[in-house]
């Protein structure tokens, strides 16, 4: 029934990367296309391992973990592109200052949201399945989270090579639901119900962060 599907979807969206053991996957060695696939997969793999180490690191306190998490996010995710995508058509109407302010708050919001989600995560394995080319710039890395109780959760990573040639993650798709798109629709609703002002979104994000940072 729809609700059960939404339930497993909802469960999936509350999880993130945290492999304790990574199943080795072998790739066929064709030509260039596979180099791109490998590079994308390695990116996801490395991030996954570092995220796990960070979670399990008891020597760090909450704010240190947050700082480290911020660093990983900035390093492996194209936060500017994601932020711009999430703001949608409102980006064009924003002033330069609003854009910069928004991107800062947005990064904070993402760190806050996903750090908690990862924090609740334990005992599951990340299994990288394969990588598929989407277009000349992008790969989609398919993986799954193997859980002790319940079916595996599908987790796809959209990886894109930017102008500088760096490979960055631009979206995480959990059980066929895009996180970037979900945030975008939410932010868009906030802006529309406040007369189309981006400042209202920025304020809302700020007050949300104040309420939830503890």
């Amino acid at each position: 029934m729809k609700m059960i599907r939404m339930a497993s979807l909802a469960l999936a969206t509350s999880l993130f990367v945290s492999p304790l053991a990574l199943t080795a996957t072998s790739f066929a060695s064709y030509a260039q296309a596979d180099e791109k696939a490998d590079a994308a997969t390695e990116l996801v793999d490395r991030l996954g391992k570092e995220a796990v180490k960070l979670l399990a690191d008891d020597s760090k306190d909450v704010s240190q973990k947050r700082a480290e998490f911020n660093r990983l996010l900035a390093r492996d995710f194209d936060m500017r592109l994601i932020g711009r995508f999430v703001l949608g058509k409102n980006w064009r109407q924003a002033t330069e200052e609003e854009r910069e302010e928004y991107l800062t708050v947005f990064q904070d919001y993402i760190v806050n949201t996903y750090q908690k989600r990862i924090g609740e995560y334990s005992g599951e394995n990340l299994n990288i399945l394969k990588a598929k080319e989407l277009n000349s710039k992008e790969q989609l890395v398919n993986s799954e989270i193997i859980r002790p109780n319940g079916p595996a959760i599908k987790l796809d990573w959209r990886v894109r090579r930017n102008k500088a040639g760096e490979l960055k993650i631009v979206d995480i798709i959990v059980e066929n639901v895009s996180m970037a798109l979900t945030h975008r629709e939410e932010f868009s609703a906030v802006i529309s119900s406040n007369g189309g002002k981006i400042s209202s979104l920025i304020d809302k994000l700020k007050s949300h962060l104040e309420d939830t940072k503890s």
Binding site: I4, R5, A10, T13, G88, K116, R184
Partner: protein
């Protein structure tokens, strides 16, 4: 009979909802991709009303459903909960079967049939999932989508929650087409649809307590978050979870502060969002 009267009132109520949804569906622009393989901007012309019912549902949930779900989750052992889930799932296999046939998915239909008979006879009336075929849940709303009927506006129905108008009509259809309901009615067993709905509902709610709480805690507009999750999840269900077809957001634009793109790709400098795409489509229709 009591059941007949209940049924006719229910029928009346459901038809009213369905017609409201259908009339809303008439506002769908022509040429819209019904399965939404290309992701379209959400149609929510009834947003104020939807938000109202969303709040009503939240209240009902907090007062009634969630406490029951909590107790269900905490008091019953895992095995019992799995059996409850299996039992209700199994009772729905016949209608999944019919919907799969209607969608032309004979493999899926075969799985439904196999699951139903195996689990009913070998699984103590459906309490145990012996077949382990992991069948998709197919409803009439998905069938309509496969047939090409457009999604229609987003609706938040009292108690039933998020729906599209297409799915709302499907719910009514499923209710009357469901073989289990028909058999129960013929044998004068009362309230079978209601019990099934309640049982499935509580079980599903129990499983979703933490995830939904977590989404709510992190959302700045819970209504919009649920709407987005619902629609994306729905697309996934309609396409039976096939990633290759699931639409990915279009991020084919270049940042202004980057080097300008080569002459043959100037179109990338224009941000392509759903508005421009759908405007173009409307213009060509």
């Amino acid at each position: 009979m009591n059941s007949k009267k209940f049924k006719s009132t229910l029928l009346g109520g459901c038809l009213a909802i369905a017609f409201a949804g259908l009339l809303g569906g008439c506002t769908t622009p022509p040429g819209e991709d019904p399965k939404n393989v290309v992701y379209n901007e959400v149609q929510d012309p009834l947003e104020p009303l939807n938000r109202y019912f969303f709040d009503v549902n939240q209240a009902i949930d907090a007062l009634a459903l969630k406490p029951v779900a909590h107790i269900y989750r905490d008091a019953l052992p895992e095995g019992v909960k799995d059996s409850v889930s299996n039992f209700f799932s199994n009772l729905s296999q016949p209608i999944y079967f019919l919907n799969n046939i209607a969608q032309g998915d004979l493999d899926g239909a075969g799985d439904n049939m196999g699951s139903f008979f195996t689990n009913t006879f070998l699984g103590f009336g459906g309490l145990f999932d012996i077949a382990q075929l992991d069948t998709d849940k197919e409803d009439m709303g998905q069938t309509f989508a496969v047939w090409g009927i457009p999604e229609g506006p987003y609706l938040v129905l009292p108690i039933l929650g998020p729906n599209s108008s297409r799915e709302a009509v499907g719910l009514v259809g499923d209710h009357f087409a469901d073989p289990i309901n028909i058999v129960a009615h013929h044998n004068d067993v009362d309230n079978v649809p209601l019990i099934r709905a309640l049982g499935t509902g509580v079980d599903a709610r129990a499983r979703a307590i933490e995830p939904l709480d977590e989404i709510e805690k992190n959302s700045i507009d819970f209504y919009a978050a649920i709407r987005s999750l619902y629609r994306q999840n729905r697309k996934s269900e309609i396409l039976d979870g096939d990633t290759a077809l699931t639409p990915l957001p279009d991020i084919s634009f270049e940042l202004e502060d980057d080097e300008p793109a080569k002459a043959d790709s100037i179109s990338l400098l224009i941000e392509e969002d759903e508005d421009t795409v759908s405007d173009q489509r409307k213009a060509t229709n």
